[in-house]
């Protein structure tokens, strides 16, 4: 396993474009903390973002994982091109001739995906923890470490999304086209949802079905935190358990994404196995 990760590391880190994107991604993750510094001080209007309560435990876990998930696109480019480049450089052929099995090839890419997701998760955990410790109004241990399922959801979300990218890289073999396909697919999911709701069933059933689509299921893992924030404002001190329930990460949401991830990895392997190079 270490050997496979080392191999992928050599391939990635020596590529300048990948290196820049990886560094940019982690810098941006860290820069979330700069949001804390946003302050408007125009005469009578005083606005300090950090004082809105976005860094309060446990809300900070939800807020930060939601925002950080947008930056995953940087790594998506890295992952799609690390796969597609093996085809365009034909190095996949050389790797197999040199004694990689087809499974080892897919597995080493998947391990890289896991490593990216894991490092991102640790990163966002530390950044959120520090921000929370700095700005949160509640600092009891019990509150700090509640709602940590958002961190787990973040990890699962990244694994699912990156596995999808990996699969697209193998399927399309060209990084630009694979990324185009990724955008196309987000549109297809919405179109499909529209079609099902319009023609086949009721809109309510269509919404249920939509939750099973790959990208939609990943998006569902961490719902948008903003309405929760305004709720916090409205309710003032009364942060209720009933609110927490609405935004929770459900086990079946995690399961759906895990099933998609396994399918993408299996399909990647099946494609590679079937193809002549």
């Amino acid at each position: 396993m270490v050997r496979l990760l080392q191999i992928e590391w050599i391939k990635l880190w020596n590529n300048r474009a990948s290196k820049v994107l990886i560094v940019a991604y982690f810098v941006l993750l860290t820069l979330i903390s700069l949001v804390a510094a946003i302050k408007f001080d125009i005469g009578p209007i005083k606005f300090h973002l950090a004082e809105l309560g976005i860094f309060n435990f446990p809300y900070v876990w939800h807020f930060n994982t939601f925002i950080a998930a947008f930056f995953k696109l940087f790594l998506a480019v890295v992952i799609v091109s690390m796969m597609a480049n093996e085809y365009s450089n034909k190095t996949i052929k050389q790797n197999l001739i040199d004694g990689f099995s087809k499974w080892e090839f897919v597995y080493s890419k998947f391990l890289t995906v896991l490593a990216f997701a894991a490092v991102s998760t640790v990163f966002i955990f530390v950044v959120s923890l520090l921000l929370g410790l700095g700005y949160s109004d509640y600092n009891e241990i019990g509150i700090i470490f509640s709602d940590l399922e958002f961190i787990l959801a973040f990890f699962i979300k990244l694994v699912g999304f990156f596995s999808f990218c990996l699969f697209l890289g193998i399927l399309v073999k060209r990084s630009a086209f694979a990324l185009g396909f990724l955008i196309l697919w987000t549109i297809i999911e919405q179109l499909l949802f529209g079609l099902i709701g319009w023609k086949l069933t009721t809109w309510d059933t269509a919404k249920q079905i939509k939750n099973f689509f790959p990208l939609e299921s990943m998006a569902n893992l961490i719902n948008e935190p903003f309405s929760r924030l305004s709720a916090v404002q409205n309710l003032g001190q009364q942060i209720g358990e009933d609110l927490k329930f609405d935004y929770a990460v459900h086990w079946y949401e995690i399961l759906i994404v895990l099933v998609w991830s396994s399918l993408f990895i299996y399909w990647s392997y099946a494609l590679l196995k079937r193809r002549d190079l």
Binding site: Q6, K93, D276, L277
Partner: protein, 302 residues
Amino acid sequence: MSSETILTINNLTKKYGHITAVKDLSFTIEKGNVYGILGPNGSGKSTTLGIVLNVVNKTLGDFHWFDGNVSTHEALKRVGAIIERPNFYPYMTAIQNLKLVCKIKGVSQDKIEEKLKIVGLLERKNSKFRTYSLGMKQRLAIASALLNDPEILILDEPTNGLDPEGIHSIREIIKKIASQGTTILLASHLLDEVEKVCSHVVILRKGEKLYGGRVDEMVASHGFFELKSEANGELVQLLESHNAFGKITTEGDLITAFLNQPLKSNELNKLLFEKGIVLSHLVQRKESLEEQFLTITQNQSN
């Protein structure tokens, strides 16, 4: 004879749609020999190599490496192979690329410099692969294939697209490796290339094996004599009456007489001298690989 089998291919068939690229092909590779796979472009050479190298899926038949107890990808760690164009990461240097190959093959990185020296790339070891000329890329591929001190080196059209100097240096490298006792399998459409280095040959045409065996036993022939004399008429008559000779042709004043059974040149010279014919030219030859190759392919198409 203590021969160790390196590769066994049994009834291998590969179909691309309704086109059959390799048809019911069988042969074995024994340790210590230099094999050539000979055939025109599109005769199934690269497909066959692709199958045994795990990059092309077979349709029918089977093959196994060594004694058959190792999986193909494990076996390939004991093999060195270059097929078609050299494939490396363009943004990495020679050293970085070879380190990666070492990791994949699971061998130590100690031999990188030594192998780069063999192919004459030591001075350029820190240049990025994309800055290399085609000849240098091909030599780097050979260095890479040698990293694990392979039990067999497989080369597919190693001199394709190279300039004469490049071709020469690649052939020198191959000869050097062959002289160290490494088994080599060389696919080529160039007859003289195979003739210069190979002891055994498999001839393919349209995916079918026409011949497999030693190069010098390819055509059951005893060679031929090229003769000239002042009295060509009598000479031809005499040769026609001799039962060692078959076909006899005359081109200008050069007589070519093909043998049906072995006959030494000194015996022939003595015989003719006793009959009063003095030769001005006497050469005994075997058919070149090209002549043999054409004989075989023509026999098959008739």
